[in-house]
């Protein structure tokens, strides 16, 4: 199981809003695929998938906010 965490996005940025999941829960993702898009200030930031596997759980849904370091979703490696 690989948890996908919100990485540090820059000084003074402690959270971001999930604006788009490229995959639905249960779908297969490849490492480095665009996984989730986040919005902060006037920027969108795309987080690539850290692993190949099934996106088994989405913990933070579109429109919801996540803090830096917190998990956004879980990938079960295959």
């Amino acid at each position: 199981m690989v948890k996908v965490h919100l990485p540090a996005l820059g000084e003074g940025i402690d959270k971001a809003t999930v604006s788009y999941w490229y995959f639905k829960a249960g779908e297969k993702v490849n490492e480095k695929d665009d996984l989730v898009e986040l919005t902060t200030d006037k920027a969108t930031f795309n987080l690539p998938s850290p692993a190949t596997g099934n996106l088994c759980e989405i913990l933070v849904h579109e429109g919801e906010t996540v803090n830096v370091g917190e998990p956004l979703g879980v990938i079960e490696e295959i």
Binding site: A8, L9, G10, E11, G12, I13, T17, S19, Y20, D34, E37, T39, T40, D41, K42, A43, T44, F45, N46, P48
Partner: protein, 211 residues
């Protein structure tokens, strides 16, 4: 890369093409400069009802609408603006979204200063202002720490009228332009030269990338 006056979609496609080359082949970061035919774009968090006139009327005016992947709400672009899209790999400079946004703002302020205009930022509101009016808008996207989309500076006064078609950035903002502030006509070319020189200096000269 100066595209001159170009349809929004063509420049958008080119941005993504340049982005892919940087991402997949490690090509050098590129500054795209252009002006657009009248267009309204909606960023990811945009509310559609911030476009204040009905779609058929927009069509009659020849104004297209695009939903795009940048941050920020609704904005307008027209031929009287300078639009700059730095497709820049921040991995070669600093992986920091705020650092990059502030750097774009500072470059606009520095450019305005060369023209005798005092521009400023407004805390919590990305963009550049002259007193209470907005003169430059910023909306960016970052993938793999490579930036796209960018900044537009209002230069020609005649182009400001179309901002009344939208509720910019989901706020009741009054826009201004370089010409409105200095009280005379100015060639877009002049502002373009100053801005692109300054931007290249702050982005390209400090980065560890190939030029």
């Amino acid at each position: 890369m100066d595209l001159g006056l170009i349809e929004y979609k063509k420049a958008w496609d080119l941005q993504r093409e340049v982005f892919a080359q940087i991402k997949n082949r490690g090509s050098p970061s590129t500054l795209i400069l252009c002006r657009h035919y009248p267009v309204i774009t909606l960023g990811r968090p945009a509310k559609r009802n911030n476009i204040l006139i009905p779609q058929p009327e927009l069509k009659n005016k020849g104004i297209s609408v695009y939903e795009i992947e940048r941050g920020g709400d609704v904005t307008y672009h027209g031929p009287g603006q300078l639009t700059a899209y730095p497709i820049f790999n921040l991995a070669h400079l600093k992986k920091d979204i705020h650092f990059y946004l502030r750097l774009l703002e500072e470059t606009v302020i520095d450019t305005l200063s060369s023209l005798g205009i005092y521009g400023n930022t407004s805390f919590g509101l990305t963009g550049v202002w002259v007193a209470a009016r907005k003169i430059a808008s910023i909306g960016i996207a970052i993938k793999n720490w490579i930036t796209f989309h960018g900044v537009s500076i209002n230069i020609k006064e005649a182009d400001l009228a179309n901002f009344s078609l939208i509720r910019s950035c989901d706020m009741d903002i009054e826009m201004t332009s370089v010409e409105s502030v200095i009280g005379r006509e100015i060639a877009i070319e002049e502002v373009k030269q100053i801005f692109s020189d300054k931007l290249r200096r702050v982005l390209w000269s400090k980065c560890t990338c190939r030029h």
